[in-house]
């Protein structure tokens, strides 16, 4: 009984810690993005509040909270109010299965450094991340505005075209690790990160999560200059903020997934595991921001073309070759 309580308490503590870290990371990613984009465009970015603008996220939150929470007259009210929460929530939920450090031994107990080490962690992640699109679709539908609806439709189409290749790109990883548990997958990369073993799967997964994160070059659902912000056109105040934070939490999550699945998770020389993990996640996040500062937006049909005609056949081929090689090595 006391064991159960202790476990529960530990899970709660870990949840609280992760919640705090992820949220502050998301807030500072916004700042980092604005600064890095600014520097890439030969501007300074926000630098007025505090040294180097470090208090800017606080000011942003105050601004968002004090703004009017506007609900359009013709909208589907309850769905409209509920959708932003769904986006942020699903984004947060994915982090439950991400292992960020090897299990610690404290007081003679093995303490896994992951909120919940599911044996089907990978499937859980895939499921939750496809749930995330519901927030966008419901928000776009409930706003009852043509721009929002277009954004919602685009994000659905986008989901369909990249989810398949994303799942297919992950199977080789599972094949080598012989497990769906993310901890086992990281353990299997002790000597070689999967990036070296499955470079093609890495590339396909990279493109897929770029599409999943709904960021440039795949930001068709928002596309400010074509459909005025897409699914969040009608949102204001903290509800818009939730969509926004959800996007950045998603960035952290996808960065951690890429780290766990392909970059070797916490493995690395010299530095402690947790530092390696954070460094890798931050590097991935930087690459996403970098891509946003560099790439133009794809056209809608170009994404479809890329997803269905290039990524999926490539992923299938990759899967076939990997499976054959693994079979030959075993036999």
């Amino acid at each position: 009984m006391s064991d159960l309580l202790l476990n529960l308490a530990l899970i709660l503590v870990k949840l609280g810690l992760i919640f705090a870290v992820i949220l502050s990371m998301a807030a500072y990613l916004v700042l980092a993005e604005r600064k890095i984009l600014g520097r890439m465009q030969l501007r300074h970015g926000p630098n007025r509040l505090g040294p180097f603008g470090l208090i800017q996220p606080v000011a942003d939150v105050i601004k968002l909270i004090t703004k009017e929470d506007f609900v359009p007259d013709q909208s589907d009210k309850w769905l409209f109010l509920f959708a932003p929460g769904l986006t942020a929530l699903t984004a947060l939920l994915s982090f439950v299965v991400v292992p960020f450090s090897p299990p610690l031994a404290i007081f003679g107990r093995e303490l896994p450094m992951v909120v919940c080490d599911l044996n089907i962690g990978l499937l859980y992640f895939l499921g939750i991340s496809s749930l995330g699109v519901y927030g966008v679709v419901i928000g776009g539908w409930a706003s009852n505005s043509k721009y929002s609806l277009l954004g919602a439709i685009r994000s659905l189409g986008q989901l369909l075209s990249y989810e398949l290749s994303m799942g297919l790109a992950l199977i080789p990883v599972v094949l080598t690790a012989k497990s769906f548990s993310l901890t086992d997958i990281v353990m299997s990369q002790a000597d070689w990160p999967n990036l070296v073993r499955h470079p093609l799967a890495f590339l396909i997964f990279l493109v897929s999560i770029a599409a999943e994160s709904k960021r440039t070059p795949f930001d068709m659902p928002e596309a400010e200059n074509e459909i005025v912000g897409g699914f969040h056109t009608e949102y204001s105040g903290m509800r818009f903020g939730l969509f926004f934070v959800g996007e950045y939490i998603n960035l952290v999550i996808l960065g951690s997934m890429l780290t766990v699945l392909f970059l070797g998770g916490w493995h690395g020389p010299l530095l402690p595991p947790i530092v390696w993990f954070s460094l890798k996640v931050l590097f991935v996040a930087f690459c996403f921001i970098w891509a946003r500062g560099t790439m133009p937006r794809l056209r809608y049909d170009q994404l479809m073309h890329l997803g269905w005609k290039v990524l999926i056949p490539l992923a299938l081929l990759n899967l076939l070759v990997t499976a054959a090689v693994l079979l030959a090595l075993k036999g």
């Binding site: 520097r39 890439m40 030969l42 501007r43 970098w290 891509a291 500062g293 560099t294 790439m295």
Partner: protein, 176 residues
């Protein structure tokens, strides 16, 4: 090969943006850093004096007529020696578009543009400036010009007495 061109076209921009990331930003951070505007920059308007220290303005209304937004107004008056001046002279800088047409229209070089651009204000009424605010103690861009030494009706010199003037002609003397 098409594909190599595509790969190059995708990766090269990343290199360029990375280079920009480490370039000094082009921004001038205004309240701390200020740009020095060129001398002929068109900002705050002043009324200048001639080299003798008198007001140059002769209240001819040409500037207020030229002004496209009608932000100059004045009242003409005359001293005993026949010299005209503005009893009051008002520019509404809240309306002025700093086009410089007034300074071009002025025959006496009285009204001139200066590079002093920092006149933003939260209270538009304080941007309505009177003659006391506009009048400066110098000649502005031309240190020599004095309207009454070249033309005008016998204020400095008797009529026709200026060096580039001829003495007045008696029209009756021309009658055959």
């Amino acid at each position: 090969m098409g594909i190599w061109r595509d790969i190059k076209g995708t990766l090269l921009p990343f290199w360029i943006t990375l280079g920009y990331l480490f370039t000094k930003p082009a921004t001038i951070q205004y309240p701390e850093e200020k740009r020095t505007p060129p001398p002929r920059y068109r900002a705050r308007i002043v009324l200048t004096r001639d080299p003798d220290g008198n007001e140059r303005c002769v209240a001819c209304h040409l500037c207020s007529a030229a002004c496209p937004v009608d932000c100059i107004s004045m009242q003409a008056a005359e001293t005993e020696d026949g010299r005209r001046y503005a009893a009051w002279f008002r520019i509404n800088f809240a309306r002025c578009i700093f086009c410089g047409l007034c300074a071009e229209a002025c025959p006496t070089l009285a009204i001139q543009m200066t590079p002093d651009y920092e006149i933003c204000n939260r209270d538009p009424l304080s941007l309505v400036q009177e003659k006391e605010d506009l009048l400066i103690d110098g000649c502005g861009k031309d240190e020599e010009y004095n309207f009454y030494r070249h033309s005008g009706i016998g204020v400095v010199n008797p009529r026709g007495g200026n060096e580039d003037e001829n003495a007045p002609v008696n029209p009756k003397a021309l009658v055959p």
